[in-house]
Amino acid sequence: MALLQRGDEEAFNALYSRYGQRLYRYFYRMLGQNKEQAGDFTQELFIKIIEKPEAFDTERRFATWFYTVAANMVKNEYRRQGRSPVFQPLPEEGLAHHQADRLVAKLDAPVQRQQLEKAVQALKPHHRECFLLRYQEELSIQQISEIVNCPEGTVKSRLHYALRRLSARLNALT
């Protein structure tokens, strides 16, 4: 970031290659799989960094700060829309725990991947956010708690809930 603040284009390119795709995927899944909007949001966030690099709090880890800004943008978008993106209610838990073998075996297949995408979209936004940050972006619980501004216990609880709902949803589909 220090190099970027001095106008080093190579530093900017390195930053983009490290976070550009990750951020785009995050926005894509948090904004209802809308590629155009995901692109706009990704661009907007990087423009913020270009225009005001001094806004970066050097006391914090960059990834944490970056995803915090991204998460706030998503929340603002939800607020602007006046509602959370449409998500389908999931069946209650307890649907066929015995189908674990089938789930494990089929999740790698492209069709199952599509079902997983749908199931993730069906999660409530705050559960989806924690799931994506933890398992897609591989951030730590502590980082996620900073990003979503919740205690670590709440993050763990949301993760548990998300996994349980996804599991139930996928088992219902298979």
């Binding site: 550009g20 423009i47 674990a100 995408e117």
Partner: protein, 202 residues
């Protein structure tokens, strides 16, 4: 059912079979093996979600353009100092005030002239009435060198007589400038006759 950090970390990183006995006990305290394996599969699948979609290349191109536009001026290899606007304004105001207070015009003083000979050098020193300023001019001293013109000589003699009178009246020689080199210092009483003699022999 307790969903603690260990259980979550295990789900993220280890298959059920790879768990240690202690971890397995903790996991089984809150989940069945089937549930663990389901969650483990989801965690792995979640990681694979990161493979797609790929952002369009136009985003990067647009951002590069924006970056170049923003930093075009700053790419000059000049050292820059970032400071708040109010500080820059304060520094500018300080310089303006200094410009008003400090006089940049040269200091004029009527010089007095001394001539001294050292070895093979003529030393014609123009010393100002102010003790701490002095200008020295060197001239080659050989047979081809011309003595000062009569009017110049008269001026020098008159000046030296004037200086000598003043110094005599005060009872001491003017202090040489502290930065005057030793060879240019006037360390003895100026001998007017000696000076005249020097001019005459040239």
């Amino acid at each position: 059912m307790e969903w603690n950090t260990t259980v979550e970390a295990c789900i993220r990183s280890k298959d059920f079979d790879a768990l240690t006995e202690e971890e397995r006990q903790q996991v089984l305290a809150c989940l069945s093996q089937e549930e663990y394996e389901q969650y483990r599969a989801l965690a792995k699948a979640g990681k694979s979600l990161g493979d797609s979609p790929i952002p369009p290349s136009s985003i990067h191109e647009n951002l590069q353009q924006a970056f170049r536009k923003r930093y075009r001026r700053r790419n000059l290899p000049l050292p820059t100092i970032a400071m708040p606007l109010w500080q820059a304004a304060a520094v500018a105001a300080l310089f303006l005030l200094l410009g008003k207070v400090v006089t940049w015009a040269p200091v004029h003083a009527t010089p007095s002239v001394a001539v001294q000979m050292r070895d093979s050098l003529w030393l014609e020193r123009v010393s100002q009435a102010m003790k701490d300023t002095a200008v020295a001019m060197l001239k080659p001293f050989d047979n081809s060198a011309l003595a000062p013109a009569p009017r110049r000589l008269a001026f020098l003699q008159d000046s030296m007589a004037h200086v000598a009178r003043d110094e005599e009246a005060r009872g001491l020689l003017p202090e040489p400038a502290v930065d005057t080199p030793d060879w240019a210092r006037r360390s003895t009483q100026i001998d007017q006759a000696y000076i005249n003699h020097l001019y005459r022999i040239n």
